[in-house]
């Protein structure tokens, strides 16, 4: 039983780390804002749930596991909410997703808050 829980938790943690890295790579590599939203949700849901569940299994039943589950619950609520808020704000500000044919939507809006010329912080 002990080893079973151990193996299960290691699998969960490994999968969680994998999803966290994959989501972050997506945030870096995806071409536009709307696809990056999807990448973030991988980290926000898959990575968080798997990692925290794995850690809770590793900790055993007790205060630590309960705290981990509380963190999980709060991240589960706040993550999608803030993603929703970001997406809503971007949509309202005039940023439109491209259509399926890949035709450029009206992404560059004159009212767009951050001017495209502002290449801030080029490394």
């Amino acid at each position: 039983m002990e080893t079973l829980i151990d193996i299960l938790s290691w699998i969960l943690i490994a999968a969680g780390s994998f999803f966290a890295v994959v989501g972050a790579a997506g945030i870096l590599r995806f071409p536009d804002f709307w696809s990056r939203l999807h990448a973030l949700s991988i980290t926000d849901s898959g990575g968080v749930i798997l990692l925290l569940l794995g850690m809770a299994l590793q900790a055993g039943w007790g205060l630590v596991a309960v705290k981990l589950l509380i963190i999980l619950a709060f991240l589960f609520i706040t993550g999608p909410t803030s993603t929703h808020a970001v997406a809503n704000a971007a949509l309202v500000s005039g940023m439109k997703p491209k259509d399926s044919a890949g035709a450029p939507g009206d992404v560059t809006d004159p009212e767009s808050p951050e001017p495209a010329t502002d290449k801030a912080g080029a490394p």
């Binding site: 706040t78 909410t81 808020a85």
Partner: protein, 146 residues
């Protein structure tokens, strides 16, 4: 932010938890990390998020500015008052043994809880005061500045 239904519901859900966590940090501060300052900041965040998602008028109806100003003074008063009590019962200023003369160690414990409460009240009041002071002003900039 009147139309943000999801934000409003989630905020209502979270404010209670944030306040509860602030109280935990405040009164559990002698066992786990945290104390008056951190608890005060967290408590202030609970009110500030209400002010951000709803409106300044809403949060000021809950906690009017005059009350916040009194609160930030009250915390210092609680802290200094603890010292004055110990001072007038024949101990040194802020010597918490005065609070429980037969059992000085318990006195220290009571004193720490009182003092941290004072710090927490002050920090809450001050943070909310600064938030009110910043947000109740009309912005000076015009559209050209953007």
């Amino acid at each position: 932010m009147r139309h943000h239904l999801i934000l409003r519901v989630v905020t209502k859900l979270l404010i209670g938890s944030i306040m509860l966590f602030a109280l935990y940090v405040q009164f559990h501060g002698d066992y786990s990390p945290g104390g008056g300052f951190q608890a005060g900041v967290i408590m202030a965040v609970a009110f500030i998020i209400y002010g951000i998602v709803f409106s300044l008028q809403d949060v000021q109806r809950v906690l009017p500015p005059w009350l916040v100003h009194k609160l930030s003074a009250l915390g210092v008063l609680v802290y200094a008052g603890t010292g004055v009590v110990s001072f007038f019962t024949g101990y040194g200023f802020l010597d918490y043994a005065a609070l429980s003369p037969h059992h000085p160690v318990h006195g220290q414990h009571y004193g720490i809880i009182l003092v941290e409460l004072g710090v927490g009240i002050t920090v809450t009041g001050v943070m909310i005061t600064i938030y009110y002071a910043f947000t109740s002003r009309t912005p000076v900039m015009d559209d050209e500045a953007w």
